[in-house]
């Protein structure tokens, strides 16, 4: 009798959790390496926020008061950190599926949650790089002066902003093919930034734009950013709840797209 096939070995809880932690570490490392080695991702992700921030805050005279300078930094921080998660999922996941890489991973013993978490962590590392680059320019050339705790809190908001950005990207990536995703995610990224008032103050915008701004995730992230930087009060509860809710909705929209049968899009 072949005892090999009698029962499947039941791994102990420790063994399985050790494996999951290991898989998460390697998966995150692979995500990070893959993103970092892709100039089409890493260059715009880092250069656009720093470049636009420098143009508005340093070249053009918009940062004429300490508050205005800090507000510009907050806005471009949110713009910069919203990209990595949105693109890593929106475009990355769609092209992984188109190429067949996602299918091979779905056949491997890697829980889908670990795969998603690793991708989010990889994007967070990128977001942190954007934050460090922006803060360096802001503190030197931009003349931004903040409390040490304010810098730290703003950086924290920046890194955590990757979570709703990733969820939104997941909703796009789960349903679109790579080509469509590239176009649509770009439009969503730039569109939501403008409509949230990240580029131009909302007061300068038409009333219609002002009224749809609160439907954009970056709008609420910018509000959290301003609170982190000590620019305004107003409480964390509403924007945080709004973002948690938006994240849940986006994941719920994505799920059936991820589970849809092979070859049907």
């Amino acid at each position: 009798m072949n005892s090999l096939t009698d029962t499947l070995p039941r791994p102990t809880f420790q063994a399985s959790s050790r494996r999951l932690v290991r898989a998460l570490a390697f998966e995150t490392l692979a995500e990070w390496r893959n993103l970092a080695r892709m100039p089409a991702f890493s260059v715009p992700t880092l250069l656009f926020p720093v470049g636009f921030y420098s143009m508005f805050a340093i070249v053009l005279p918009f940062a004429n008061t300490p508050e205005a300078a800090a507000t510009l930094l907050v806005n471009f921080t949110i713009f910069g950190v919203f990209g990595p998660g949105l693109f890593a999922f929106g475009v990355g996941l769609a092209s992984d599926r188109d190429q067949g890489w996602l299918r091979l991973k779905q056949a491997a013993p890697l829980p889908v949650m670990v795969m998603m978490l690793a991708r989010t962590l990889g994007a967070m590392v990128f977001a942190l790089a954007v934050v460090v680059a922006l803060f360096t320019v802001a503190a030197t050339l931009g003349g931004v002066r903040l409390e040490r705790s304010a810098w730290a809190l703003l950086a924290l908001v920046g890194v955590l902003a990757v979570i709703p950005a990733s969820a939104l990207g997941l909703a796009f990536g789960a349903w679109l093919n790579a080509r469509a995703a590239m176009a649509i995610v770009n439009i969503a990224y730039l569109g939501s930034a403008v409509l949230s008032g990240l580029w131009f103050p909302l007061q300068m915008m038409p009333a219609s734009v002002q009224s749809i701004a609160p439907a954009m995730p970056p709008y609420h992230l910018a509000e959290l950013g301003r609170q982190a930087a000590g620019l305004e009060g107003g409480g964390l509860v509403y924007p945080v709840l709004w973002l948690v809710f938006a994240t849940i909705i986006a994941v719920a929209v994505a799920m059936p797209g991820l589970r849809r049968p092979e070859g049907k899009s």
Binding site: T5, D6, F26, M38, R103, A108
Partner: protein, 297 residues
């Protein structure tokens, strides 16, 4: 004590709209056996593999891997998979990819062992995107075996590999089979199936046409292949061979027959000048194409 087969499929049906990609497929694969899945394009081989991976949901029938639901983590942990057209992140190196897949498993080989068994140790630092088609297949094979799977599913594994790489692949597969791994493979190279498989399953338009040892399929179906040169024409041969398919071009005739002796007697009587006569056992390929044609008629 019951022994669960690596793969147990009973009356499996998968429908895409009105198209039956799989229709009442049943097969069993035990530990330490190698099963070759053959069939023309569109026969349902890829759908069957996708169903085993839990990537398509069957409309009817049952399918289990080691008694587990396909696609479950328990089933996936026991299974190594090599799929066709798997795009792998081109910017990761071979060693990074093998290391990554090793991290998914509880008791993997070391990445070095897996790369050595797949014959790609020399490529370990190369990025996947810089490899040739055959080398990419070898990397995908390394990803499939690094977790020490008890079931290996290989879809056209030797595609694009050179002779040396192919020999190495089959050597590793055979070693794993001998150590108790169940192997299911699809291949276009029928001679590979003939040489390696314990069992051949012929699939055509979603149905199992035959399921037997390669030698049995060969003997059961076609007997012999006959070739000769004759002055008889198409019409005369048709009458003489009544019912047997043949190919005639430039006076050279080729046909398959389960009972070559009787046919030859008739042929020699009709054409005493018949020359260049060859009779040899039909290949597995002949047998399979005869089966497929028979079914289509």
């Amino acid at each position: 004590m019951s022994t669960l087969p690596a793969v147990a499929i009973q009356g499996l049906g998968v429908h895409y709209g009105s198209v039956k990609a799989l229709d009442g497929v049943s097969l069993t694969l035990e530990a330490g056996k190698l099963l070759a899945l053959l069939g023309p394009n569109g026969a349902g081989k890829t759908t069957l593999l996708a169903a085993m991976l839990g990537l398509v949901r069957p409309n009817q029938g049952s399918l289990s891997l080691f008694g587990q639901r396909p696609g479950s983590l328990a089933a996936r942990s026991q299974t190594g998979v090599m799929l066709q057209n798997s795009g792998v992140p081109e910017l990761l190196s071979v060693a990074e990819l093998v290391e990554l897949f090793a991290s998914y498993h509880l008791d993997p080989m070391t990445p070095d062992q897996a790369m050595a068994q797949a014959g790609i140790k020399a490529l370990s630092r190369r990025r996947f995107g810089t490899l040739s088609g055959g080398q990419k297949q070898q990397v995908l094979f390394a990803l499939a075996i690094v977790g020490r799977p008890r079931l290996l599913l290989l879809d056209e594994p030797s595609n694009g590999m050179d002779l040396h790489a192919r020999a190495r692949l089959w050597q590793t597969v055979q070693t794993m089979r001998d150590a108790g791994t169940a192997v299911l493979l699809t291949t276009h190279y029928i001679e590979e199936a003939d040489r390696l498989a314990d069992e051949v399953v012929l699939l055509d338009r979603g149905r199992v046409l035959a399921c037997d040892a390669p030698a049995h399929i060969r003997s059961r179906l076609s007997g012999s292949e006959i070739r000769f040169s004759t002055r008889l024409d198409q019409v005369a041969l048709s009458k003489l061979l009544a019912g047997t398919d043949f190919e005639l071009s430039g006076g050279r005739c080729r046909l398959l027959s389960p009972q070559p002796e009787r046919l030859l007697a008739r042929l020699l009587q009709a054409d005493p000048d018949l020359v260049e006569l060859e009779v040899r056992p039909a290949s597995l390929e002949d047998a399979l194409s005869a089966l497929t044609l028979e079914q289509a008629a």
